[in-house]
């Protein structure tokens, strides 16, 4: 005899019902908040909508990667903030990766002193808040540098002063564009060669020398082009002090320099731990097996340790990159006009909290999601194929 389940104990009914209940509660809560919000906004004369982005901003921004004047719109001011955030994040990520890689390998060095120094660096940096470090770099280091007239000169044309840091730079000359053609041609040839030689190596089992050949394919045309185009396409530009400012080279404002140094030093300590974790995750037996096959130490590092460590490293490395990008919002502590800082100024001037906050959150979210998407694609490429 079959008895039907009463509907209040039927899992299918329960599932639908509980979800409806959940959605209803969430909707009620959202409605309650929204009602309060619109009431509060009406009372204080706040308006929503993004029309204000067309209005004249009327405030100065210290650093502008694109031309900007106070007469421009809020939209353009916001764009300047976004570009500043991107600039400091991208350069910071590159530098932090390099420093972190060195420190991570240093922590596993066979040299005792190097191991102790890198451990001390990592522990000190990881155990203090980034914000304290940023204040320290800005007001206790860079701000204490001498005035521009008596800048500290480091070898290689680097100047340190209260008003910022000047570095030598390569400046393109008139023939730079022609030379770029040679360079890109070389890179294209190198890619083709790489694919072809790798395939040859996989099929025949004989060494294809893909790396050497590709390197040659880039170097030969670009070197040849360097001399063929006549005038040198790039000339070194060393900064000089003229009056109260630096002429030539490239120049970092104290705010930008403090933020960049702070972010790089901080994130690199975390990346070092990630790198170290990845390297020690490769079993010793693997390295020994490689050695017994006759690989040299460098070869076993390059061919055995590194590809396997990379699989462990990439996911946490991604979150460190994201952290760096998100932490760049602390730029406000040193007065660098990044996305958050500019948004705050816009909010104070326009009195439109809702759209500004939405815009700001959406920008950061887009950045984070794009980065994790890219890194996920890369991660999928280097994963074990067997699994």
């Amino acid at each position: 005899m079959r008895r039907s389940i009463p509907f209040w104990r039927d899992v299918r009914v329960l599932r639908v019902f509980s979800q409806i209940l959940f959605v209803a509660i969430v909707a009620l809560l959202a409605g309650f908040l929204y009602a309060n919000l619109s009431q509060a906004m009406a009372k204080r004369g706040l308006t929503s909508g993004f029309g204000f982005l067309q209005l004249e901003a009327g405030f100065e921004i210290g650093e502008t990667p694109i031309p900007y004047a106070p007469g421009d719109t809020y939209g353009r001011a916001y764009l300047v903030g976004v570009l500043n955030t991107l600039k400091v994040s991208l350069i910071g990520i590159v530098l932090a990766t390099v420093v972190g890689l060195v420190a991570g390998v240093g922590r596993l060095s066979s040299n005792w002193l190097i191991r102790q120094i890198t451990s001390a660096y990592i522990e000190v940096i990881r155990n203090t808040p980034l914000l304290v470090q940023l204040f320290f770099w800005y007001s206790a280091v860079i701000y204490q540098f001498p005035a521009i007239k008596s800048s500290i000169r480091l070898p290689g044309g680097i100047f340190l002063s209260k008003r910022g840091v000047a570095l030598p730079w390569l400046r393109p000359t008139g023939t730079f564009r022609f030379w770029l053609l040679f360079l890109f041609g070389g890179i294209a040839a190198a890619i083709v060669l790489w694919v072809w030689r790798r395939r040859y190596q996989e099929r025949s089992g004989k060494p294809g020398y893909a790396g050497f050949m590709s390197l040659g394919a880039v170097l030969v045309p670009s070197l040849a082009g360097w001399f063929l185009v006549g005038q040198r396409p790039l000339r070194p530009d060393v900064p000089e002090i003229q009056g109260f400012r630096f002429i030539g080279g490239t120049y970092m404002t104290p705010e930008y320099a403090a933020l960049l140094i702070g972010l790089v030093v901080y994130t690199a300590a975390f990346i070092a731990e990630v790198v170290r974790g990845g390297i020690i995750s490769v079993r010793k037996g693997q390295i020994e097996a490689g050695r017994s096959l006759g690989l040299t130490e460098m070869q076993s590092l390059r061919l055995i340790v590194f590809p396997q460590a990379l699989r462990i490293i990439v996911p946490p490395l991604t979150s460190q990159y994201l952290n760096l990008a998100k932490n760049s919002s602390l730029a406000i502590a040193v007065g660098f006009p990044d996305l958050f800082n500019v948004s705050k100024t816009i909010l104070n001037q326009t009195g439109r909290p809702v759209p500004v906050v939405i815009l700001m959150m959406a920008s950061y979210l887009t950045m984070s999601l794009l980065t994790s998407l890219l890194m996920n694609i890369y991660n999928r490429r280097i994963r074990f194929l067997e699994t």
């Binding site: 959940f22 919000l37 155990n127 203090t128 206790a140 919002s329 602390l330 958050f340 979210l365």
Partner: protein
Amino acid sequence: MAVSKQELAPPRGETGLLGWMRKNLFSTWYSGLLTLLSLGVLYLFLRSAITWAVRTARWGVVTENLRLFMIGSYPPGQSWRPAACVLIVSCLLGLSWAIWGRAMRIFALGLGGMLGLLALFRFAMPTRLWLLANPVAVGVGYGLGLLLRRWRRAGMVALLAWLLGFGVTWVLLQGFRKAVGLPYVSMESSWGGLLLTFVLSIVGIILSFPIGVLLALGRRSDLPAVRFSSIFFIEVVRGVPLVTILFMANIMLPLFLPEQIRIERVVRAMVGMLLFSAAYTAENVRAGLQSIPEGQIEAAKAVGLKGSLITSLIVLPQALRLVIPANVGQFISLFKDTSLVAIIGLLDLLNIGRSVLSQPEFMGLQREVFAFVALIYGIFSYAMSYGSYRLEKALGLGER
């Protein structure tokens, strides 16, 4: 070949200091070069750092404002109250060392030992006595715990003691608005310095934990509506910087709530920290949930347990135990992240430092102040991360 009975002495230069140096500092020519180079840099760095710390630095800015750094503008006549709270915590740590065993020992001995050692410095007599009272409190708590340990419910008692302790410290710090005896000390205007930093991070971690567990369960729910809402919340919060969340909590929260409810700035900051921390805790807990083998759940189903019982009796107890170290890590980073409330203008440890620097007599002493602030943060977070490492060992995690 006959083996000689007499053991050969190890070859010279292989053991002892010289051998150690050859093996660890000069194994290859580039290693030796690196050693010499870094010795040189280290010498230059340490020499200037030590000269600065001993000769040039004017530490008066720290010693004169020590009270400000520790408790902000908490009324001086009432400063026995935060001090008593620290004693309570010492006592509780001692108690849980006895009951919960070795895992808590490092925290109990660490706090008691550190404060006891500080008594060696030239503080005023009452401060010294208070500092010395802390190790004693740890001992008293440990003794109490030893008495209670026989009892079957001792673990429960310790948990209740902690809850009671939090209630008592809260009342003690805030006082009563109307009743006499403990004058009211407003959290908004008078709590500051290290006290505020600790209040923000402890409230943040404790309140965010249940929310985080719910979010993690929601993310693994088989009901799409629940799952997608949880994922949405977690990913949005993790995708934006903490500053923007604090900023949003600061300016939007008053708009979102009915007009009659006015919330203080400190509470707004707490809400921001809470939401932020909950999303990260949720991801930690999810890792723990995922590590519970499917077979256990199937076995529970076979026994006839229903869903909510499987979660609360089988999955959560094991998963939560696994995520304790990750949560200590989360607590450490939350502790450091509370410094961001300086950006929305609360007077935490960091911002007290900045406000001290804005006084005319302490202008230009940024190095001293920020070095001191960094030292305080560093001591606590290093101690906590060392403690969590020992905790991991004591719990026997990662060894299965």
